[in-house]
């Protein structure tokens, strides 16, 4: 296989990670809303933890993006 083609295929495969992070971020906010609607009075106190979870889940998707960008533009 041509090296250039392999790079682009690799970048495409790395993009799967971005989709997986979408699942993760959706899960964070989904679970938060689910429990926040059960106990709305406790929801405001958990906002910080919500964003910590969001940041952690999002970072992995962003890493997948970095990998694909490196494959396309740098490698």
């Amino acid at each position: 296989m041509d090296a250039e083609a392999a790079k682009l295929i690799g970048a495409g495969l790395a993009a799967i990670g971005a989709g997986m992070a979408a699942l993760g971020v959706g899960n964070v906010f989904g679970s938060f809303l689910e429990s926040a609607l059960r106990n709305p009075s406790a929801a405001d106190g958990q906002q910080g933890r919500l964003f910590i979870g969001f940041a952690a889940a999002e970072l992995l998707g962003l890493l997948a993006f970095v990998v694909s960008m490196i494959l396309i533009f740098v490698a």
């Binding site: 964003f51 910590i52 970072l59 962003l62």
Partner: protein, 261 residues
């Protein structure tokens, strides 16, 4: 672009010297005043004007003072919740950090391209966000070692760890601690880069499809443009969230330094 050229979404991140320049160098490094530096200066000036306008200290605040007090109160509450009373002395730092990043992200999104000025989001460069992250991380290290001395290393051994587990837990916690500045800087840099690349790619779709003919323009260009409007709104949300996350994680790390576990 009659040829409907190749879309170059990365061109917007190119750093160009504005004036001055090939001759200004220190130790072989060019220190020309670049577009990145110009936008940093602009966001610092905007931040200064914003805060200076709110320093009237009226008993019944006006709109401007209310806006400034909202942000200071927001950061004050953040530090109180995450660090406790000891967090009070870090409020100025975290406030400056938050507002600087927020203004950088938002100013970089301004649609000034229509009047010929190209906004530059300097938070889309790892050098910038990396340095901001390293500043936060150095504060954590300095405070940690200053307050707790070598006892600071107990941060890497959580309470109640069984003795045989310590040799395993310690390196894991150490690595997860050392990787913090990278993840902190990387998150902001990539989130901003990804959004701007996405917007440019969609803009390329609009231009190229319209050039290819009216039919393509309606079929591809119009939906792309509608999507661009939506994504722009999302980007504004991301700009705020990323600034908040940066401040939030900084406050958590400071909490670790202040109170260990």
């Amino acid at each position: 672009m009659a040829e409907s050229g190749k879309i170059d979404p990365m061109h917007q991140f190119a750093i160009e010297p504005l004036f001055g320049t090939d001759h200004w160098s220190i130790g072989g490094f060019n220190i020309a005043f670049t577009n990145s530096a110009a936008w940093m200066l602009l966001s610092a000036v905007v931040l200064w004007i914003f805060v200076a306008g709110g320093l009237k200290r009226q008993l019944v605040p006006g709109r401007w003072q209310m806006a400034v007090e909202f942000f200071t109160g927001f950061i004050d509450k953040l530090m109180l919740e995450n660090v406790g009373a000891a967090g009070k002395k870090y409020v100025p730092y975290v406030f400056s950090l938050f507002m600087f990043i927020l203004l950088a992200n938002l100013l970089g999104l301004l649609p000034l391209g229509i009047v010929g000025v190209h906004p530059f989001t300097f938070t889309s460069h790892f050098t910038v966000t990396g340095v901001l992250a390293i500043i936060s991380f150095s504060i954590v290290l300095m405070v940690g070692f200053w307050k707790h001395g070598l006892h600071f290393f107990s941060l890497f051994v959580p309470h109640g760890t069984p003795l045989p587990m310590i040799p395993v837990i310690f390196p894991i916690e150490l690595v997860s601690f050392l990787v913090r500045p990278f993840s902190l800087g990387l998150r902001l840099f990539v989130a901003m880069t990804a959004g701007h690349v996405l917007l440019k790619v969609l803009a390329g779709f609009v231009i190229n499809s319209t050039n290819a003919g009216a039919g393509y323009g309606v079929l591809v260009g119009v939906p792309s443009f509608v999507l661009m409007v939506g994504i722009s709104a999302l980007e504004m949300l991301v700009a705020v969230i990323q600034a908040y996350v940066f401040a939030l994680l900084t406050s958590l790390y400071i909490n670790d330094a202040e109170h260990l576990h």
